[in-house]
Symmetry: C2
Subunit: 332 residues, 2 copies
Amino acid sequence: MATIHDVAKAAGVSAMTVSNVLNDRPHVRAETREKVLRAIAELDYRVNPAARRLRSSRTGTIGLAVPDIAQPYFGVLASHVVEAAGRRGLRVTVEQTSAARDRELEAVALSRRLMIDGLILSALGVSVDDLRAIDYPLVLVGEKDLADELPQVSMPNEEGARAAVAHLLATGSRRIAVLGGIVEDGGMASERLAGYRRAHGDAGLVPDPALAVPAERYGIEGGATAAAELLRRGAPFDGVFCMTDAVALGALHALIGAGLRVPEDVQLVGFDDVPAARYANPAISTVSPDHEFIAETAVVLLERRIAGEQLPAPRRTVSPFSLALRGTTRRA
Amino acid sequence: MATIHDVAKAAGVSAMTVSNVLNDRPHVRAETREKVLRAIAELDYRVNPAARRLRSSRTGTIGLAVPDIAQPYFGVLASHVVEAAGRRGLRVTVEQTSAARDRELEAVALSRRLMIDGLILSALGVSVDDLRAIDYPLVLVGEKDLADELPQVSMPNEEGARAAVAHLLATGSRRIAVLGGIVEDGGMASERLAGYRRAHGDAGLVPDPALAVPAERYGIEGGATAAAELLRRGAPFDGVFCMTDAVALGALHALIGAGLRVPEDVQLVGFDDVPAARYANPAISTVSPDHEFIAETAVVLLERRIAGEQLPAPRRTVSPFSLALRGTTRRA
DNA sequence: CACCTCTCTTGTATCGGTAAAAATCATCAT
DNA sequence: ATGATGATTTTTACCGATACAAGAGAGGTG
């Protein structure tokens, strides 16, 4: 495979000039550039990222660390990130963290040494303290609010949850369960829960704590389990707000399995708008954030940080959203 | 960040000896190894993959090229590949090809230059001819049968489809539609279709061609569209074999939306066993290949190829499978 | 015409590892 | 004691790119 020196020889210039052309540096005569480009095309030359990285940093690869790429939401996110990065000539390496703090930290630590220029981290386990010291291009997506310290693109957690629950209330539900939150310090769940509470507050209602059922994970299994637990408790309910669509999918399955009619007996809404939600039976109504916006914004922010730019406050960007009303809710 | 030379100095040996320790090469005295390891730990030294790659190839990163990681099956596959690779100290870079031949070829071509030691390719678009000349560690997964040329880990396409359709026949279906195949040269669809035909043949039946509805993609949308088309045709049917679970999810939605009862009026089976299938309503019966086996095998094969080993024939490894019988089929 | 400036181009050193060959050392047979 | 043998370690060079500093031309100026 051709090296920069082969190109230089073919074009009758020095390797450095080829490098200058490759990196769009000024002070290269148009005619020289032409010659070089022709030689590059002729030899089908590609830069060797290892060599470039060794000398200058910059590999053209970014990292994406998510809890589990098999989960629909992260698959969708990853897909958009890969595409957005691709449009900018970047490739993406995926890490899976299982939402565990140490694995998230490991991903961050490794990145510094890895062939990676920066990292997009879907942070669930780490805390602000863990990340404060990181001197490394890092952009957070979704989940926890750590935006005081680092640039972050997040979901419209509170606002979206509020809108969803408000819709349930507007269509007649009065006892609305909330499923799937591991409610803790400033996490996604607590923000969505805040939206749930605010919707109630706005309507002059106070939700029954017996209707809040946490779940280990935000996955389908967790949703099914949480719904089963809700049924077991025996507290009456006529609406369910699920922290994620995956939870909603599992919960819907469990509720229908228990003989409840959705949406006649129980309305249900999810959050995330993954493809499967649209094709559930009935189709799941959900908060639909703009996944492409999130991915695109995260990549752009990361690119700017890699370029050394200090991002101006406010550092938190919230995705726009819409309410996708489908078969698990009644018409207003 | 510490370099190999810092470690060498700290341990009082040469850089080369440190390198020998790092790479588990023979002829290093136990005592020396100790000293070096202590120095490594003390300085928290990590090899710089760029430098290693530049000199010797080997980056510790492999590529995974799939059509679209947002599709549940590929998300599951990617998740297992990332884990299997992680167990061996390898990282994974994901490419998306949209199942397009040129993007698949691009992924292969790039790999050679990328910071990647080898590539696992989920080939849909490329042909044997495209890949014949590739002199590069490459392992194929699923889909097309190209195993004459390259090592491949594939789904139990024909056998699984046969078993699934045989079950439909055994439980009373007589007019079984097949949804979602882009039937072409030796592709996955034609293998699964062969299984469908063989099940019919074994039962002394001949399937009605009017019941075969192709689909552009194997996604959820494609399944919904294909099912709609099937209904439009008006040919009676009492069973549906879907090429993938994604197709099954979409089809199930469309069929139920049209007022059919599943499984009473129509039985339905999918293929892949993605998580969402289990939690559909009713839960989708499906052919369940061993995803972990596929990922693990692909990574192991790739690792051996990277090590320079010539893999012995037979080069095609087929995943074991089971039939996951759930709510969309009747009891035998 | 000498001298300066500005643009364009090129040597040289270097990033952090590893391959290959050479050097050192301990052990042992002669 | 001498050379041979094999184990262990070091020296040297280089992978392919880029940073930096310095060189070469072209045009302008006094």
